[in-house]
Symmetry: C2
Subunit: 182 residues, 2 copies
DNA sequence: CGGCGCATGTAAGTAGTTACATGATTTC
DNA sequence: GAAATCATGTAACTACTTACATGCGCCG
């Protein structure tokens, strides 16, 4: 068995909230879910086909305008069962963070390496931008206490991502400050 | 062009420190570098072949015992150039963290979901264990101030991983504490 | 001399990215 | 009527995982 196919569960999870087209799902990966998972439409459409063959989803065709056909996918009862068991099953495998910057750092031998400062500064800029972006998203998507409990999981992970980014920025600042002056 | 092949740079980086066999490299992914990158020998051997064809590394054959041949790989001058330019080049793409637990959380609707508590507790256990492991590794590999500056990049990333794990554990504890009592 | 670790490879399959391809609808 | 966006698919390729396959060396 190769790596567990997580994309199928994401699709089931999204369809469990409301029926969507392949295009809608693709967009979801650009916005909402894009913070922590990516997929292109070329991966989504074949996956939808497979899920339907296996009976986890069905589709109905709706017509937009004159003749543009849209496939609106729905989750089935056994699809909901599969989704439920994935969520309930343990998650014993911790993710390896494949961070290219961290990888490069590993090969830096001394704190006098002339490349270090610029490298850290670049990452500081990038992660500060991301932090700002996440702060704005949290404020936009969950403006009130009530909205937080309404979609609790989504709130949790956004807030988690924000905290993680905050740590990263702080660490970069500390690392930069600790570099030798000349 | 598909995703940038980072494995080749890791191999070059390791060979830049000392000549190694494919087997040695494989082991490095189980220990040292395994905190933040994984690769199996089935991926490493073909990559070594390609790097040699392209002239970035060479190998010499050494005999162990009676007739067991070992290929000891060395980095070449152009291999060092390639490694250097990879490190110097910008790293503008932030890694998406594909964390399966976080993914599952996204689909939890309310903070009264009966599965939440057990899910968070399982992760708390796993991440606490990893934190402990990282603390031990940092203490083992870098026991003195002097040892930290000797292999600065390695020290930085271990210390970064430790801080990240520490944040994760704290966040899980807070999340657990914030769950409704009944 | 048996078992574990050293040592190197290939094969088959899944996951994921980039590119190719087509056409309809809406908006300006 | 042009451009952006909606909408769906396939093809080709790279990355990565799991399994298959083989043989030597060392230690007890």
């Amino acid at each position: 068995m190769a790596q567990k196919n997580k994309l199928q569960f994401i699709i089931l999870g999204l369809l469990n909230q409301q029926p969507l087209t392949g295009y809608d799902l693709t967009k979801a990966f650009d916005t909402e879910i894009g913070e922590f998972w990516q997929a292109q439409h070329s991966q989504i459409y074949p996956q939808l086909k497979r899920l339907e063959e296996q009976g986890y989803i069905t589709h109905e065709i709706t017509i937009s305008g004159e003749k543009l056909e849209k496939k609106l996918y729905h989750i089935t009862a056994i699809g909901q069962t599969l989704l439920g068991s994935w969520i309930s099953d343990g998650t014993p495998d911790l993710t390896a963070t494949k961070d290219e910057f961290i990888l490069k750092l590993y090969f830096i031998q001394t704190n006098r390496d002339p490349r270090l400062k610029a490298m850290v500064q670049e990452q500081l800029q990038l992660h500060t931008d991301k932090l700002t972006h996440l702060q704005q998203r949290l404020a936009t998507v969950f403006p009130t206490k009530a909205s937080q409990t309404a979609n609790y999981g989504h709130y949790l992970i956004l807030q988690h991502a924000l905290g993680r980014e905050d740590y990263y920025v702080n660490w970069l600042n500390q690392t930069l400050a600790a570099l030798p002056k000349r």
